[in-house]
């Protein structure tokens, strides 16, 4: 799962560093606000724990052993923000000092395992555990599923990043310059191992840690010890936000799945012609038929020719170049487009919220001064 240097192109690495940056920034800002002076020791010890837990050999059914990342256990106890930072620091030390994972690919590794893993683990744990008591056995199941889901989502992301390399980065002879396996090889190769053995290691560690803490130190799971009380998002707020928007999310998912219906529509949308359509005899006939039998201009209008070369869409005709099935391309484009809109809206919301509450950490700081 730790992608070494040389497997991803520098541009992919840059994109993933860019994708990880906002999460690192948001997580450190949030933790700094909540923990103030406790940030340094808590983060250091949590990162050291994440590093060491990755070295544990976990026996798996069938006589094999596996290593867990510890993302499930870290997220359940520390919350997603501290978990993503602690795991990122552990991954940085692993990459720089122990050579496990690359330096150029550190952004990708952190994005896959620390960030996406923590968010997925948090989501699954909250949904499955619900309102149950801290010592409920349902929480053990929730932690197990959270770890299992997180590691598999991380593996899927890793496989996708590796799988797109030969599609975009080849030399003149067609030789893949980085990871050589396309998506249809990379995804099964990664997922079979993770859905079976590696996923089980994470499942056992998450469940085992939570089961142990339920017996030995349930306060840690209630998030009321060692300064971690505020690391967990306020459940009532997140739950009410989820309740409010749940229907909208379900509808959005349905609409995304229905986007391939666009393929069934015959002809082209009037006025949405591309520059190439004017030189295509068949398309010219269609344009004429749709325009009351008025033939389009014989030459490509100069303005259209000039302006159409300014920007080339990354997903022309709603299908990225590496996707062969148009239906899959439609769904992928719809997911990408809605994802961008949601990210933009979330960013605007975050900025607006930040401006509205400029100094929400003053309470904690006040307590700190009182302690002195």
């Amino acid at each position: 799962m730790h992608i070494p240097d040389g497997y991803l192109s520098p541009s992919t690495c840059a994109v993933l560093y860019g994708a990880a940056m906002p999460f690192w920034y948001a997580a450190s800002a949030r933790l700094k606000r909540v923990l103030t002076t406790r940030l340094v020791p808590l983060l250091a010890l949590s990162s050291a724990f994440c590093f060491v837990v990755m070295m544990f050999n976990i026996p798996l059914p069938g006589g094999t052993t596996g290593h867990a990342v510890g993302v499930g256990a870290a997220t359940v106890v520390l919350g997603p923000w501290a978990s993503m930072l602690a795991l990122s620091i552990a991954l940085l030390i692993q990459a720089v000092f122990f050579g496990d994972g690359g330096i150029t690919t550190l952004g990708a590794n952190c994005f896959n395992m620390a960030i996406a893993g923590s968010l997925v683990a948090h989501g699954v744990y909250r949904i499955v555990s619900g309102k149950t008591a801290v010592i409920s056995s349902r929480r053990v199941v929730a932690a197990a599923l959270a770890g299992y889901a997180a590691i598999n989502v991380s593996a899927l992301l890793t496989a996708c990043e590796l799988g797109i390399q030969p599609l975009f980065f080849r030399d003149a002879t067609g030789t893949p310059l980085y990871a050589p396996y396309p998506l249809h090889v990379a995804i099964p190769a990664m997922m079979i191992g993770h859905l079976t053995f590696a996923g089980l290691a994470e499942l056992f560690v998450s469940a085992g840690v939570v089961a142990y803490l339920q017996r030995a130190n349930p306060l840690l799971l209630a998030g009321s010890s060692a300064g971690v009380e505020n690391l967990q998002p306020k459940s009532s707020v997140s739950r009410s936000a989820w309740n409010l928007t749940r229907r909208l999310w379900i509808r959005l998912a349905l609409i995304l799945l229905l986007t391939p219906l666009g393929i069934l529509a015959a002809g082209t949308a009037w006025g949405e012609w591309s520059a190439a359509d004017f030189s295509h005899a068949e398309t010219r006939q269609k344009i004429a038929a749709a325009s009351g039998n008025v033939a389009p201009p014989a030459e490509l209008p100069q303005g259209v020719g000039r302006l159409s070369s300014i920007w080339n869409a990354p997903f022309p005709q709603y299908a990225p170049r590496f996707v062969r099935r148009p239906a899959f391309g439609y769904v992928l484009s719809a997911m990408f487009g809605s994802g961008l809109v949601i990210m933009f809206a979330a960013m605007v919301g975050w900025l607006a919220g930040r401006r509205a509450v400029p100094n929400s950490g003053s309470g904690e700081g006040g307590t700190g001064q009182h302690d002195e």
């Binding site: 250091a44 052993t65 002879t173 089961a211």
Partner: protein, 287 residues
Amino acid sequence: MTNESPSAAPVRFRGGQSRGMIERSLSSFVSGLEHALFAEEVAKKNGLLQRLDPRIKILAGLPLIVASALSRKLWVIAALLALAIVMAFLSRVPLRMLAKRVWLGVLGFTGLISIPALFLTPGQELYRLPVPGWAITWQGLSAAAYLIMRAETAATLSILLVLCTPWNSVLKALRVLRLPIVMVVVLGMTYRYIFLLLRTAHDMLAARKSRMVGPLPGPEFRRMATASAGVLMSKSLQLSGDVYLAMRSRGFRGEVYVLDEFQTRWFDWVALAFFSCVTALAVWFGR
């Protein structure tokens, strides 16, 4: 992430294998400690890279790693690897250790991963294996060579960067990359407490192993291993509270200061100019 046990038969799982698994975990912890001790020893030697300002090493080393990733020519990547080997030699890094820990390790992992690429990458056929009838293609061979060479070069450059610099200096030098000072302190503390927790984990498993007189069934051993992880987490958070109180009692109010004892001499600037030229040439010829 998963490694097959040499004796994978389920029948034997109840027997000696549980002890083997404890030993495997113990050996991971010990090898982590060994690696750190070895790095400290190499960093103390009086070699070429050890004499350079750590900030210059980072400013020179990272672009070289990026240049090896950018290059579209195998000979450019090979030249960078050759440069790394010369630097290792001049810095008194034992080449035998480099071969054993880095080159063979990378070859074992990346080499294994790239074998199917020889057959799966479509292209001009070079040789057809007589028995299964699979064809090795020129493109597959080149793809495997790119992957292995890039991974070897980047791994050698990055290990040199770390082996020839004390870890605390590496961290302080990271500030030239605009890493926030709080993160530098967190990384320093993390590194220090990793060894404490490694020692704790080692002691826990060693204590358990010393009390085991018979075989431990698989599920029970799994429960013991995951509970040990739980103990470790509990101890880590408890310790973070203790460390926090100790810091507060010594006057820590959240401000962090790092002593900047680095000095850049003419030798460092010459080295930076040299490595920058090499990087520029590698990027130019590797286009």
